[in-house]
């Protein structure tokens, strides 16, 4: 079988397995939520409601149905793309996700770009000046980003740049006295598209601290991965051969070693992007960023089953899609990979 045919077959197999993976995740979330003590009725009515009021609300929300019926209903709706409505305010879950997801993607993508740029730069400089002072600082930086708890780092940055210096807003996504731009929900894009400089500037100022914090915290992964792989590649035979041919060290690193050292970094990048969508919870909470992770946290506290299920399924779907895409890219560009 030719390589391109094998690649297509591999891609189709991965795509076909994706729904199975989503079904497993959706089922696990469904069950785990029901196992957790407390239900939406308690979260909505608090402690004081009468048993009659509780029963009536439970029936209204469909929580009085047997568990297997609730599950069948949930899976059937999911197959039709219906994520249900929030128990707390009856808002369609798809609307909630539609409002919150762009905020998370905007933050995640910006943070990712910062992380990869910063991480690669540090990794690259560190390798080119291996074991020197710059390399040492770079390595310490990498270890520091792992060691610092994200919420602590975020709070320090918030305290310094928002409270003490007052350079950036302390939280939120958009200036409170302005009306958020209409459009896609990606405020940077929308304000740019609407040619509103004030909106664009306001969005950028609000985005800066959370994105920078998340970006810095993630950059260590990239700097360490790149440094490790680049150092290993530079020790390989073909690099020695290149050196013996009199090619300059810069050319060796940029043209020969760097592309090969980049492949594992690409895998890490894929995993990072997938985890960023739902995993930036601490940053979202610290900076009051109205993204999907914060919405998920609220929904868990309220035991709003459909919202939790919907958000988890959407995050899982995105993670699966990104993972397939990254695998596909790697498989395409790396001839050593067999599938």
């Amino acid at each position: 079988m030719s390589r391109s045919k094998a690649l297509i077959r591999y891609f189709i197999t991965r795509l076909a397995l994706a729904p199975v993976m989503l079904w497993i995740i959706a089922s696990l979330v469904f069950l785990l939520l029901r196992i957790a003590p407390g239900d939406p009725v308690d979260a909505i009515l608090g402690t004081r409601a009468t048993e009659l009021a509780r029963e009536s609300l439970r029936a209204k929300l469909g929580l009085d149905e047997p568990l297997h019926q609730q599950y069948i209903q949930f899976i059937q709706n999911l197959m039709h793309g219906d994520l249900g409505t929030a128990l707390v305010n009856q808002e369609p879950v798809s609307n909630i996700i539609q409002k919150a997801l762009p905020a998370s993607i905007e933050l995640g993508v910006t943070a990712f770009l910062i992380a990869i740029t910063l991480g690669m730069a540090i990794g690259f400089i560190g390798t080119s000046k291996a074991d020197g002072k710059t390399d040492l600082i770079g390595r310490l930086f990498g270890i520091g980003t792992y060691a610092i708890p994200p919420f602590w780092g975020a709070m320090l940055i918030q305290l310094l740049f928002a409270v003490v210096l007052g350079w950036f807003p302390i939280g939120g996504r958009f200036p409170a006295n302005l009306t958020p731009p209409n459009g896609t929900g990606f405020y940077l894009f929308d304000s740019f598209w609407n040619r509103s400089f004030i909106d664009f500037q306001g969005t950028l100022k609000h985005l800066f601290l959370p994105a920078m914090t998340l970006g810095i915290l993630l950059s260590g992964i990239f700097s360490r991965a790149l440094r490790l792989n680049l150092t290993r590649t530079l020790e390989s035979d073909y690099i020695e051969a290149a050196r013996s041919r009199g090619i300059s060290e810069t050319q060796i690193i940029v043209k020969h070693a760097f592309p090969n050292a980049l492949l594992p970094v690409l895998t890490i990048a894929g995993i990072t992007v997938a985890s960023l969508i739902g995993g930036a919870l601490l940053i979202e909470v610290t900076f009051s960023w109205p993204g999907i992770a914060m919405r998920l946290q609220e929904a868990i506290a309220q035991r709003d089953y459909p919202v939790v299920q919907g958000i988890v399924v959407v995050i899982a779907a995105l993670a699966v899609m990104i993972s397939i895409l990254v695998d596909l890219i790697i498989a395409t560009i790396d001839p050593r990979i067999s599938y």
Partner: protein
């Protein structure tokens, strides 16, 4: 954005708001007639009338998440005249007056809510208040002054709300001047103290409303060790409220020895006993402890409420200091939703909670904690006392509570005081402190004011430099 039918003034008297007269009770207290003002407009330009009010109450009874407040009280609603409504009650209820001040009954426009008669309208609100909603998102809301407002217009052009998700961000936003006014009940105690100190120095302005939120402990009385009245009595004397208030809240949460906040009961008495380590030791010794035997009480607190955790830790240390031979507290932090779920199942022997009545009336504090539908001696088998997790009742108290529903004025308050007295003797609850709503503003903003329901009066906020 909305108005209530009535308000309670500083003297605890009912005053009219959207209603033009005080409620008229007829038919042995089973019919309440409310006359409405005829000069009120909704934000959509339509007129407020009896039909609109009836629509609102009916809608709240159908879909309101707190509709149990009305259940069993309002049988039906009539609109005998254009600007009059009649509530037909299922039983006489003197607390209906308090209920009519509830923000839950804020009228909404039948025209704008025609398609949301039995479902929520999540991103809009069409009421009669001094502001109309201009823009809504979960984190940001913008209000604009409503020019057709029937009463004193707002003293500012509008309000921009922003929700920040943690105490440090809220605190920091006021300190760095990013926001003009901070309103939060969940701000951490040390930050609250810092803001209080700043206001005393004149660096910011602090406004405080009536203390309407109570913090209390519930003891499960249908199982050991709190099934013994002597143990309950001993514990009632063991809590040093002054110390707790000082250590946990720097004195900003006032010690409380009643279930009803003193601000809403002019005849209020502190029925619960004061801290007395001598009596605690004496009673515990009598109950068989102290002589080499230590009573271990598992105390549950809400892990997501910082003040509860501090209180639990402080009380544990105080018990260790004062009663180490007799008493020990074992702490157990549980997320609040889980506690609410398991409370009526008797999962907690001693649990720390708070409560704020739906309207400023003693009944809104006593009934939800004490009333019982099925009594077996001193054990409540069904009713609010079960939901509260105490399972405690007293036939005398239950009668007094029911009788108070038919009384008015001073006699009613006296009857409710009697209820509190019996409850304090029962010892199923231990009031700890009172929390006042507070708001802080930059010094160029007028002092934040609160209404009798503890809501910040946004329309009174203004830039005093302008």
């Amino acid at each position: 954005m909305g108005d209530t039918l009535y308000k309670v003034d500083r003297n605890g008297e009912l005053t009219t708001s959207l209603a033009s007269k005080l409620p008229e009770l007829t038919n042995n207290g089973l019919t309440v007639t409310i006359s409405l003002r005829d000069d009120i407009f909704f934000h959509d330009g339509t007129k407020f009338d009896g039909e609109a009010m009836a629509f609102t109450i009916q809608r709240f009874m159908n879909i309101g998440t707190l509709n149990y407040i009305l259940s069993g009280r309002i049988k039906s609603i009539d609109v005998p005249e254009k600007y009059k409504i009649r509530l037909n009650l299922s039983r006489p209820s003197s607390s209906i007056n308090g209920l009519l001040t509830s923000i839950n009954l804020t009228p909404v426009s039948p025209k704008s809510y025609a398609n949301h008669k039995n479902k929520f309208l999540n991103d809009n609100f069409i009421g009669t208040g001094p502001y109309k909603l201009d823009n809504f998102s979960p984190q940001q809301k913008q209000l604009k002054r409503f020019n057709l407002y029937w009463s004193t217009p707002a003293q500012n052009n509008g309000i921009s709300f922003i929700s920040l998700s943690n105490s440090s961000a809220l605190f920091g936003a006021l300190i760095n001047g990013e926001i003009d006014v901070l309103l939060s009940n969940s701000i951490q105690e040390d930050q609250r103290k810092y803001l209080n100190t700043m206001s005393k120095k004149g660096e910011i302005v602090e406004g405080r409303g009536s203390a309407l939120e109570i913090g209390y402990l519930t003891f499960r009385t249908n199982a050991p060790p709190f099934n013994k009245p002597i143990i309950r009595k001993a514990i009632l004397h063991s809590l040093d409220r002054n110390l707790i208030s000082k250590r946990v809240s720097y004195g900003l949460r006032k010690p409380l020895r009643s279930l009803v906040p003193p601000d809403i009961n002019i005849l209020a008495k502190s029925s619960w006993p004061k801290y007395n380590p001598y009596i605690t030791k004496k009673l515990l010794t009598k109950a068989g402890f102290c002589n080499g035997e230590q009573l271990n009480i598992p105390l549950t607190f809400r892990s997501n409420v910082p003040a509860d955790k501090l209180l639990a830790l402080t009380w544990q240390a105080q018990v260790q200091r004062d009663f180490s031979e007799c008493l020990k507290l074992s702490l157990n932090g549980v997320e609040s939703t889980t506690i609410y779920r398991q409370l009526s199942k008797g999962a907690y022997q001693a649990v720390m909670l708070d409560w704020r009545g739906s309207y400023p009336d003693p009944e809104a504090y006593l009934s939800p904690l004490l009333s019982c539908e099925r009594i077996n001696r001193n054990v409540c088998e069904q009713g609010e006392a079960v939901i509260s997790g105490s399972f405690w009742t007293d036939p005398l108290m239950e009668n007094a509570l029911k009788r108070s529903e038919e009384l008015h004025g001073r006699k009613r308050l006296e009857a409710l005081n009697k209820v509190e007295k019996i409850a304090s003797n029962g010892g199923a609850y231990l009031p700890i402190w009172l929390l006042s709503p507070r708001a802080w503003a930059q010094k160029y903003i007028s002092k934040p004011e609160f209404d009798s329901n503890g809501h910040l009066l946004l329309s009174r906020l203004k830039n005093i430099n302008k």
